[in-house]
Amino acid sequence: MNGTDTGFVLISAALVMVMTPGLALFYGGMVRAKSVLNMLMMSFISLGIVSILWVLFGYSLAFSGDVGHFIGNFDAIGLKGIDFTSTVDSFVTNAKGEPHKIAAFSFILFQMLFAVITPALMSGALADRVKFSAWMVFVALWVTLAYFPVAHWVWAPGGWLFDMGVIDFAGGTAVHINAGIGALAAVLVVGKRIGFKKDPMRPHSLPLVLIGTALLWFGWFGFNAGSWLGVDGTTARMALNTQIATAAAIIGWLIYERIRHGAFTTLGACSGAVAGLVAITPSGGHVNAFGAILIGVVAGVVCSWAVSLKYKLGYDDSLDVVGVHLVGGVIGTLMVGFLATEAGGWDQFGKQATGAFSVMGYTFVVTWIIAFAIQKTIGFRASEEDEVTGVDQTQHAETAYDFSSAAGSHISSGVTSPVAAATQSKKVEA
């Protein structure tokens, strides 16, 4: 077992873990103050639910063997048969071209965190208006029916896209396109927020958005570079390209925004960074510095344009999961077809397009069915009154902020004694 590579993957996994709370904060800052906790929780709960499902059967379905090029088998259910001496192959090779061996547990942890963040990405599209209990069910079903299969297609030997030679290094297709298209389907079922296109819905805290962006960007080095499952020069190239594309996308987004709307905004810079990170994800291991710049700039400009589409087309993708993750994911996935230093060309482009569109088709249908089934049974959407009051209060029985005892702001009252309460029970809708 290679200690260096195992250690690198473990640390990368810690970095990927922090992306999910980072995403929670990124999204949380963008909503109004009455839905910030719900937004945080929609991401955070994925850490709880998906980690467990992954251990129970997700890892097995995604990475153990292959059934019909479509899904894994049940051999590794509950991590059966895997112990601390088990290994998997790294993409990094020794002088003889043999892969390094890393601890299987490190790979399982690393991939678990990819499964965790993918459904969390969709939550931004549904901000402000869904029942939290329904969301939990949705996450469990979606990750099982959409993510585990697609991860198998793309990353597992035997998976049909993997076998076809689609390049999806760190998850442009399996993670971002998958979540982006899922978000679109879910939004179409759930419908628009009350007041969409009419009420002002300013981000309640842009510093929170920046904190989230910082954690996402930081963690993304683990996400991208860690995907080599080991360290060599290509790992370093991946990390470097991650930085380059992100920088370029910031600039791309800001320039487009300056021309179109007259300002260089903070939200634009953060959004550009995420768009760049998304776009370089599938491709960063296979392009050179200029390729990374090009992918970044294109992603920045196009995503900056794409986030306005929802106003024109009328779907209410609250925090632009479609505009950033679907569009950014497609850009990265397709561009690498041409820009890949080793394999680029029409042939590869065709494969990339096949990968992107088949995942879009499959996941759109599956997600639509899941969301529709939830809507018709337990109900997906919060009641109108709950939505207007705010999902923090109605779904979580909490208030995000109480600055009342700070200087100059101080109605800490109107809130009474916790004690009696502590000894009695009461229902709040969640």
């Binding site: 109605i411 109107g414 916790p418 309460a421």
Partner: protein
């Protein structure tokens, strides 16, 4: 002159602003407030402790108006603010002795 004060549900602000504008009033001052009354608050839970929050968010709108307009203005505001549910709030008017526009020093009706 009168000072009309309205304590109403926050999300009615836009309707009230529009209704006032339609009526010909173009200025107002808004403060954030909390109301306590018939409308009950809600319960929150923090680590096993349940809290009752009984102050409800309201906004407080002040409009200076000429004597003759006052009654009509009150009606306009009441209509725009009404949802028909408990907690819709109150509107009241007070007699004003002097009103001045700071920028020009104009007094009385001209100050509006």
């Amino acid at each position: 002159m009168k000072l009309i004060t309205a304590v109403v549900k926050p999300h009615r602000l836009d309707e009230i602003k529009e209704a006032l504008q339609a009526f010909g009033v173009h200025g107002l001052t808004v403060t954030e407030a909390s109301g306590y009354g018939r409308q009950r608050g809600h319960t929150e839970v923090y680590r096993g402790a349940e809290y009752t929050v009984d102050l409800v968010p309201k906004i407080r709108i002040e409009v200076l108006a000429e004597d003759d307009d006052a009654e009509q203005l009150i009606d306009v505001i009441v209509k725009a603010a009404r949802t028909g549910k408990i907690g819709d709030g109150k509107v009241w008017s007070l007699p004003v002795e002097t009103a001045v526009r700071v920028r020009t020093g104009e007094r009385g009706p001209d100050a509006l």
